[in-house]
């Protein structure tokens, strides 16, 4: 296979900005022009976490991969907070403690999701409640399938998808972006949900090569549609493997290199959430976090950000604060998925 020289990382040319956040469908020609302007050649894209975060511009729309506590691109979110990003509109099928961090740090003031709490084990997120009930941020609620259909429409290059849930509910009534129609073939009621094409997608995977060919083990959630829909993709990965290794198991490749604009190798890049087959969630850390922030959603959260996000020298410094014992225990449980 051909070898390509690594080109120096440079600031991406900015895609034509959208005039309204996330609620507007991008015209097809704009979508195509934005894609045509990307450098989709076979080239190495490996950058640092800091460089990758610098590609995310304030005020843009960000799609977050994984779901709930699984394959969350946590290291990159962590770096966006350290880089003091502002006014990002973030969409994720189900959002958990990453949503707390995005709101409390001021990185995001708009969440698009189907479910937002820290995890079913801990009830309601007081951090989410503080920001949403206090009117400091918006949380637009869609059904889980609707988020999937929005990413899928975005991935398909069509402006909407029809679906049969959300009809009759107040979830649809609170979403003026939806349209109820009578099907032109059957006259049945259908709900149309608009395409979601985030400016940038953040996705964490088990392994990918330097070009961005990404292999996902286990649950893939909505990451393939998200990658295809987005105008840029930043891929963080537990490890970078050779292109030869990717080619030995091409059926495992879920996202092709030409969707991917940057690759960052970050071991434990989803911590304290899980990465399938590598580590399970670090529940001791998460439980302590939930206790601290739910007892004081402002002060407790600020202290967490100071201690665990702004404080550490680098991502390994953050992992050190979680502690070796918990990392080892989580890894042991994570790998046990492959045991009989």
């Amino acid at each position: 296979m051909p070898k390509r020289k690594k080109r120096p990382a440079r600031q991406w040319r900015r895609a034509r900005p959208m005039n309204v956040i996330q609620d507007t469908v991008q015209p097809y020609n704009v979508l195509r022009e934005n894609l045509a302007r990307r450098d989709r050649s076979l080239r190495e894209k490996v950058v640092t976490l800091e460089e990758a975060a610098s590609f995310v511009n304030d005020g843009t729309t960000v799609g977050i991969g994984g779901s709930t506590m699984s394959r969350t691109p946590m290291a990159l979110i962590w770096q966006l907070i350290r880089a003091r990003k502002k006014k990002l509109s973030c969409s994720r099928c189900i959002i958990s403690t990453d949503g707390d961090l995005l709101l409390a740090s001021g990185v995001s003031d708009h969440i698009v999701s189907s479910w937002f709490a820290q995890g079913i084990l801990w009830g309601l997120s007081k951090v989410m409640r503080h920001h949403i009930e206090g009117g400091h941020a918006r949380y637009d609620e869609w059904s889980h399938m609707a988020i999937g259909m929005r990413f899928r429409a975005g991935a398909m290059g069509v402006p909407f998808m029809p679906m049969r849930s959300m009809l009759g509910s107040d979830v649809a009534k609170r979403r003026p972006e939806t349209k109820e129609i009578d099907c032109p073939f059957t006259a049945e009621k259908l709900l149309l949900v608009p395409a979601l094409n985030p400016d940038v997608a953040l996705i964490h995977v088990q392994r990918c090569d330097a070009y961005g060919n990404a292999q996902i083990d286990g649950l893939q959630f909505m990451d393939i549609d998200l990658a295809m829909a987005a105008n840029r993709v930043i891929m963080t990965t537990e490890r970078i493997v050779s292109n030869d290794q990717i080619r030995r198991a091409p059926d495992q490749t879920k996202i092709p290199f030409f969707c991917v604009d940057a690759v960052v190798e970050v071991p434990f890049g989803s911590a304290p959430h899980e990465c399938y087959g590598v580590y399970e969630p670090m529940l001791d850390h998460l439980e302590a976090y939930v206790k601290q922030v739910n007892s004081d959603p402002v002060g407790g959260m600020q202290k967490y950000l100071d201690d665990y996000v702004y404080g550490p020298k680098d991502w390994n410094g953050f992992l050190s604060k979680i502690g070796l014992d918990e990392l080892v225990a989580a890894s042991r449980r994570g790998r046990s998925i492959y045991d009989d």
């Binding site: 779901s67 709930t68 506590m69 699984s70 099928c93 189900i94 189907s114 479910w115 937002f116 709490a117 995890g119 079913i120 084990l121 309601l124 997120s125 989410m128 409640r129 949403i132 009930e133 949380y139 609620e141 869609w142 059904s143 889980h144 399938m145 609707a146 999937g148 259909m149 990413f151 899928r152 679906m163 049969r164 849930s165 959300m166 009809l167 009759g168 509910s169 107040d170 979830v171 609170r174 109820e180 049945e188 009621k189 259908l190 709900l191 286990g218 649950l219 893939q220 959630f221 909505m222 393939i224 549609d225 899980e274 399938y276 087959g277 399970e280 969630p281 529940l283 994570g334 998925i337």
Partner: protein
């Protein structure tokens, strides 16, 4: 016969909910008591039960003591038949492959509408709840069994917000809203088992749990319940049901 108070309310809930499932069904289960109850049914009278999770799992077979903290964790996939995308597994509901949806609930009304979004005025909520997740999709597209705690503040005449539709405002309003399929089938609480009137679609009492009176159920409910003639009495949990349940959830993750 098991003596009273040998089990907790949530254990009773999980066991009674499990009994509602039939062998051979395809059931879409939410996290918590539904996941536990579906797994319990699989170990008892439904060895051929196929469990789906919205994280993207078909044919889950959750291991004892290894209950997943959500339906999106790797533990959900252990010994499953298939993993697939979240949108793909939800689309199986829309296509019609799922016999039963199985969920918990924060607030329910007389027509079986569920609220997991807002307490109070949605524009200025007293409490912003987590939201629907897959709940709206499941309840819109298949027959529902809901397992939830029975409290007056949870059983209200009209929910503050319809997150997951039951029969909307009764009669044919569900179908007229664009939901011609599915609907509420059973509600299971620690006090009683409920179904819905064929015509009015109002909640009615099907069976009372051991030691529970009609008055007790009505007193804990914020609307007038329908009692149609004879209500039966639920069989108490058996030793086998309790021991299997405790084997599955030894840490009392979902049955505290």
């Amino acid at each position: 016969m098991t003596k009273p108070h040998k089990y907790t309310a949530s254990e009773l809930l999980a066991i009674l909910a499990a009994r509602q499932l039939k062998d051979g069904q395809v059931v879409f289960a939410g996290v918590g008591v539904p996941l536990l109850a579906a797994t319990l049914a699989q170990r008892l009278h439904c060895p051929g039960l196929t469990i789906l999770f919205e994280g993207g799992v078909i044919g889950a077979f959750v291991e004892p003591g290894q209950l997943p903290p959500s339906t999106n964790d790797q533990r959900c996939t252990k010994r499953a038949n298939m993993v697939l995308g979240s949108a793909e597994v939800l689309l199986l509901l829309q296509r019609g492959y799922v016999d039963v949806g199985f969920m918990g609930g924060a607030q329910i009304d007389q027509y079986g509408n569920l609220n997991s979004s807002f307490i109070g005025d949605p524009d200025h909520p007293k409490t912003r709840l987590p939201g629907t997740g897959g709940g709206n999709d499941i309840s819109s597209l298949t027959n529902m069994i809901v397992a939830m705690k029975h409290e007056k503040r949870r059983f209200v005449e009209k929910v503050d917000f319809i997150t997951s539709p039951g029969f909307i405002r009764g009669n044919n309003t569900r179908a007229e809203s664009g939901l011609p399929q599915g609907g509420m089938f059973r509600v299971v609480t620690e006090l009683a088992i409920f179904s819905f009137d064929d015509v009015t679609k109002r909640m009615k009492v099907l069976a009372l749990n051991p030691g529970v009176t009609r008055e007790e159920v009505q007193d804990n409910t914020g609307f007038d319940l329908v009692f149609n003639g004879q209500t039966s009495v639920t069989e108490p949990p058996t030793e086998r049901e309790l021991s299997t349940l405790r084997m599955l959830d030894p840490d009392r993750l979902f049955t505290a």
